[in-house]
């Protein structure tokens, strides 16, 4: 983990209220696994807490790493003012990402993401494809204007897009698409709002795979206990709680209470 003033390499608008920010710095060489996140100090002065943003693409050879963010409140709003050459204080990489060591050549990985849960799946998909897996992506967004990175995911394999209001792709949730298409897979990787994670876990009771969780964070490195969640069976896990920032944000399916 490193604290660094990273340089903004590029910054562009990619969907309604959604931006792609490419950062340059030493920190980019420290990334260990897809699903890790950067903890970013909002560039205005009055916000104390850092903002967690997932690493959407890692290019250590260029010292680049990409985050995709949607403007939610003050912190992400402040990010929109950044121009190439500006610096941004970043702590990272944080947390444990998606373990992909077990995934085998020839297997199929289903990536399912909703909204701002989509970004970490992109780097994950790149690495899985590299390992020779077949990558199928099911991406859920609120509406047509919110859709981003469809093209990029298409380079990894088959892509289904669903929107809540049907204004683009299928109408409905990612779970609907999975049943309609009767998608089968060896690995399920998912990141998004809790109800989506719960629905997917319910739909695929026996699947192998991993989920990535979100929670409001104080520190991002395990010191404040803001971001805890409970193991589904504490006895088995041998501990009474997990810190999402440090023990997660990625957990095996059915490991934590949703």
């Amino acid at each position: 983990m490193k604290q660094e003033n990273m340089r903004v390499y590029s910054h562009r608008h990619i969907a309604e209220q959604t931006y792609e920010l490419v950062l340059e710095g030493e920190l980019a060489s420290f990334l260990q696994a897809p699903g890790q996140f950067l903890h970013i100090k909002p560039p205005g002065g009055e916000l104390l807490l850092r903002r967690p943003l997932s690493i959407a693409k890692a290019e250590p050879e260029l010292k680049h790493c990409t985050v995709l963010y949607r403007v939610e409140g003050k912190g992400t709003q402040q990010l929109t003012a950044l121009s190439p050459g500006d610096t941004l204080n970043v702590l990272g990489p944080m947390g444990n990402g998606f373990p992909i060591a077990e995934a085998q050549l020839g297997e199929t990985a289903l990536l399912t993401g909703g909204g701002i849960g989509v970004p970490p799946l992109y780097e994950l998909g790149r690495q899985l494809k590299q390992k020779g897996l077949r990558v199928v992506s099911v991406l859920g967004f609120s509406d047509r204007q919110a859709v981003f990175y469809e093209e990029q995911f298409r380079e990894l394999g088959e892509v289904f897009v669903a929107t809540d209001d049907g204004s683009y792709g299928r109408k409905g949730f990612v779970t609907d698409v999975i049943s309609q298409e009767a998608l089968s897979f060896d690995w399920l990787f998912t990141c998004g709002p809790k109800p989506m994670l719960a629905a997917l876990t319910e739909q695929h009771k026996a699947a192998k795979g991993y989920i990535s969780l979100e929670e409001r964070m104080g520190c991002g490195f395990g010191a404040c206990l803001a971001c805890v969640c409970e193991p589904l069976s504490p006895a088995r896990a041998g501990q009474t709680f997990y810190k999402i920032c440090k023990d997660g944000p990625v957990f095996p399916l059915r490991e934590v209470k949703l």
Binding site: Q3, L48, L49, E215, R216, C219, G222, A226, V228, F241
Partner: protein
């Protein structure tokens, strides 16, 4: 003697800076960032008799130049702290302050007794000001008599110096300070968090699952300085000052106000290196104001 050395009951500190309770865990998360022996001391997370999971999430909310927390004293319980956490941190060269809390006097007493078992504890800090637990905590901090009674009981079961951590959620902080001084406290810590709340402007729902929480960070610094200054006018007890410290300049402001040492809380979260950076900056600042040893700062003795 080093320029930064300060001496407080039980705490021989190579500099006046310690991380504040609840903002440092038991130190494990900071060890990758810097050598913990750099610190003047460390105050570890609030400890209770049994293990506690704490409050539901969300547990933090952001405010202008501050944050609200409602962790709810999550901790593994005093036995586990003594068995697993303190020996680990104790290997570093720094005095350890254990912050403790309870729902009633008896719990504080039990925790204090258990802490006698550890060779790694240098001082106790009684948290009588935690706004985030249903029972006990804050109630003690708002009532001078309860606070004094508690202090007296704990003093009876321990030989360790006892610092009482005062709540800012009172009309007159000097009342509680004087009451616990009379009851035998060896020092004071102030301030704990101010009770605060945030609502989602769209829905009106509280942002914290616990509804209210404790406000900390630079936003509360003027309140902390005022209370330390007030207490210093009436008491000669050593004071560990805290509330919004982010820089070495802040440390000097606190020491001028009357603090003998300081604790840094919230600032550790956004900058895990902050304590080390502050400690490194202190000598230059002292040079700038022409002060040789930091312990010279602060008010003269009070005639009480």
């Amino acid at each position: 003697m080093s320029r930064l050395q300060v001496e407080l009951p039980g705490l021989s500190m190579k500099n006046p800076v310690m991380p504040a309770s609840g903002c440092f865990g038991y130190g494990r998360e900071f060890a990758p960032f810097y050598d913990l022996s750099t610190l003047g001391a460390a105050a570890v997370k609030g400890t209770t008799l049994e293990d506690r999971f704490g409050n539901p999430t969300p547990r933090v909310a952001e405010t202008s130049s501050g944050m609200l927390n409602a962790i709810g004293l999550q901790n593994p319980g005093v036995e586990a702290v003594v068995a697993e956490e303190l020996p680990w941190l104790g290997h570093y060269d720094l005095p350890i302050v254990v912050n403790l809390s309870g729902a009633e006097v008896e719990e504080y007493v039990q925790v204090a007794k258990c802490l006698n078992e550890s060779e790694y504890v240098d001082a106790l800090e009684l948290n009588i000001s935690c706004p985030n637990v249903k029972k006990g905590g804050l109630a003690f901090g708002q009532d001078p008599e309860l606070a004094a009674a508690l202090t007296k009981e704990v003093k009876q079961v321990t030989t360790l110096p006892v610092y009482v951590k005062l709540s800012p959620n009172v009309a007159d902080v000097t009342e509680v300070a004087l009451a616990v001084e009379k009851a035998g406290a060896d020092g004071l810590s102030l301030i704990n968090t101010l009770l605060g709340m945030r609502l989602d402007w769209r829905t009106g729902e509280p942002i914290l699952a616990n509804q209210a929480g404790g406000l900390s960070g630079p936003a509360v610094k003027p309140v902390a300085i005022r209370m330390i200054h007030q207490v210093r006018q009436v008491s000669n007890l050593p004071i560990i000052g805290m509330g919004g410290i982010e820089t070495a300049e802040d440390v000097l402001e606190f020491m001028h106000a009357g603090a003998n040492a300081v604790a840094v809380g919230t600032a550790n979260f956004s900058n895990p290196f902050v304590c080390k950076e502050i400690i490194e900056s202190l000598p230059t600042l002292l040079d700038e104001i022409g002060v040789h040893t930091i312990s010279q700062l602060g008010r003269d003795e009070v005639q009480v």
